[in-house]
Amino acid sequence: MSFSFEADEDLEAIVEAVRGFAAEQIRPQLRELEEARGLTAELAEALVELGLTTLPLPEALGGSDDLDARAEALCVEEIAYGDVGVAAAIPGPGSAAVAILAAGSEAQQRSLLVPFAEPSDPLLCGTLAWAEGPCGVEPGAIEATCTRDGDAWVLAGSKRYVLAGGRAQLPLVLARDTSSKAADPWDRLKLLAADGPLAAEDPDRTMGVWTADYATVKLDGVRVPAARVLDTAQPGTLREVVERTLAHVKLTQAAALVGCARAACDYAFNYATERQAFGQYLYEFQALAFMMADMATRTDGLRTLVWEAAWAFDRGEGALASALRAHQQAAELSVSITSDAVQILGGHGYLWDHPVEKWMRDARTLSLVDGLTVPLDRASTLTLSL
């Protein structure tokens, strides 16, 4: 079986269900959720029940072995079609699970991830406390430290742009081991799963994705039991784990942006069939029709790039490069597509009466808001062959 742009029937049925859920449960309340700056417990409960909070987990840990990254990308896309703000704030372990699955012992995987299978609180979530500033995840840019003290590690410093920063119960912290003398700066870093929420210093006020709350968190004095530190002692391991996790972050964000772009297209296209000017429907004006043809073409093309990245993630080859490619195009295209959608609605599009202004803000925000910039590996770009 090879080369196909279609999901199998089982997955198609799941995607169909998510699509229906997004239309009924998400789209109608997108403004309420935005103003509340978070998901309601009811919505979170529904996401948990649909299995959408445990997509990255295997069967043994409460997820499903049938659902791979391609399935996750498709589900996230559909949630984002309902509203990208919700897709950006899906509870559950999120990308932290990818790191824990990659480097955690069996016992760690169980103790850290099983609580998400049947969460006591539907909003239970994990997060990546990695970024500290605009330089993102470059080993040289990580100044937070961890120091061994008996059977625990003590953290120092602070992290910025942390999703659900003040409330995520499973913050996975990237910090420099003060005692490490490893030659490769990557190997001086450690991944520590803090036990419970970190102290939020400063909630971020962002242009879009208000449903996902980002914050600066303080690490000073936080003690992480040694049993919650991932084993990345083998040289090169930490970098691999970080890259795989970032691939997942970028991939799911790109999928969400595809959903956002699709939603904006459909909303604007529908408007163009209802609104008249100069005695014609908007879609009959060629200037607008061509704009919409380009919006549709780019959305379709972007979607194939994201699917390809999901496939690469599942295959485990070139996952980060594919995810970055999809993410960069997703960032660029979703911004222009949502802006075009506002343009089609004209003055109406600028107002809160329609969701397109929100999606335009969300699209511009989502790809940047977590600060997880990945330094383009320049050497690898140059050897990229097509």
Binding site: M1, S2, A293
Partner: protein, 402 residues
């Protein structure tokens, strides 16, 4: 079935063979044949040796494939042609046009021609000969609006008499025969259209001009003139019966050709863009090997990354259109999307490649200079970018139209 991007064995074989051919027999002669304004003798020799022709690319040779694939198997002929076409275009955009065979004239003869016509006209091509067919639709006054053609035909005894002129005809001068579209009466619209096979040397048929072009110089583009040109009635493609049936059945077959050829044209643009990208990438690698920390270097690398992304997106769009075709699903919108995107992508990518090479990029002895000249027509022929956008937007709003 699952979403899957691994090329199948068949696609990989097609790609590898085409790549070998392109690397050995096409690319090395690309600049020279551009200057020659014709195919290089070494290329012609190789076409004969490997018995290559346009039939393989246009899918004409696949005509005898069973309509329904074996249960559980999906045809992949369209995708295989795509991967091969990308490699050829990577070697030289004119390679596909200079491969012997019926060219664009093949599909109408195969689809519409009677068995006798198929045998008579397709029979002139054999692996050892370097011969061409051609396809003449465009006129000075009818380009994108092809149904507006004004070349006239009238029946006189046992012949049809043609009057008018055709332009932009690929291989129009050297072709053994050309499928020529004419009208009984412009007022009849498409119902008045007839297609004829006009053979080389028919009295009243002439080629007064071979065009000089910005790019694709190695490909022959000719003007064809018909002055009281008498074509035997047996050369009316499909015979009279065909047009009587067609008057009822509409013109779906004519449009169906585009569903297959547009992704093919799009993937050729991808091949050109990839060639330009590789030249720029290698240039950056060699030129900046000792100064990788300069701002300029970093800017160029970012530009390369973006070029790569756009090329890949264009490729996936054409693959998707071909995939739908292989699945026998409607793909008119997707095939136009692939062509619309690739047509402007190749302009951006080749232009940036030139920019990266700086003053070296615009020199005539650089392949990238030729690529930039070649690519522009990919947003023009087989439906301009604007026609593609018309097709796409009409499909987007098909449900609201009466």
């Amino acid at each position: 079935m699952a979403i899957e991007f691994e090329l199948s064995k068949g696609m990989r074989t097609a790609r590898d063979m085409a790549r070998m051919f392109a690397e050995t027999y096409v690319r090395p002669y690309a600049l020279e044949s551009d200057q020659l304004c014709g195919p290089h003798p070494k290329f012609i020799e190789a076409c004969k040796q490997f018995q290559l022709g346009t039939g393989q690319l246009s899918g004409v040779e696949g005509m005898n494939e069973p309509k329904a694939p074996k249960p559980g198997k999906i045809k992949e002929g369209n995708r295989m042609r795509l991967v091969a076409a990308e490699e050829l275009a990577w070697g030289d955009a004119t390679a596909a046009l200079n491969m012997p065979g019926p060219g664009l004239g093949g599909p109408p003869v195969q689809f519409t021609g009677t068995p006798e016509q198929r045998e008579r006209f397709m029979g002139v091509f054999s692996p050892e000969t370097y011969k061409f067919g051609a396809y003449a639709l465009t006129e000075p006054g009818a380009g994108s609006d092809a149904k507006n053609l004004s070349t006239l035909c009238r029946k006189e005894g046992d012949a049809w008499v043609l009057n008018g002129s055709k332009i932009y005809i690929t291989n129009g001068k050297r072709a053994e025969w050309t499928v020529v579209f004419a009208t009984l009466d412009p007022k009849l619209g498409r119902a008045g259209h007839r297609a004829f096979v006009v053979e080389k040397g028919t009295p009243g048929f002439s080629c007064p001009k071979v065009e000089k072009k910005m790019g694709l110089r190695a490909s022959e583009t000719a003007e064809q003139v018909f002055e009281e040109c008498r074509v035997p009635e047996g050369n009316l493609l499909g015979g009279e019966a065909h047009y009587e049936a067609k008057a009822k059945g509409g013109f779906k077959t004519a449009m169906k050709t585009f569903d297959a050829t547009r992704p093919l044209v799009a993937i050729m643009a991808v091949g050109i863009a990839r060639a330009a990208y590789e030249i720029a990438r290698d240039w950056v690698q060699e030129t900046y090997s000792l100064s990788q920390h300069t701002h300029r270097y970093q800017r160029l690398v970012d530009a390369l990354a973006e070029m790569e992304q756009e090329i890949r997106m264009a490729r996936l769009l054409s693959y998707k259109a071909a995939y739908l075709l292989d699945r026998e699903l409607p793909n008119a919108k997707e095939s136009s999307m692939s062509k619309a995107y690739a047509g402007t992508m190749v302009q951006r990518v080749t232009s940036r490649a030139i920019e990266i090479l700086g003053p070296e990029g615009v020199r005539e002895n650089r392949l990238v200079e030729k690529l930039y000249r070649d690519q522009k027509v990919y947003d023009i022929f087989e439906g301009t970018g604007q026609i593609q956008r018309l097709v796409i937007s009409r499909r987007l709003f098909a449900h609201t139209r009466g």
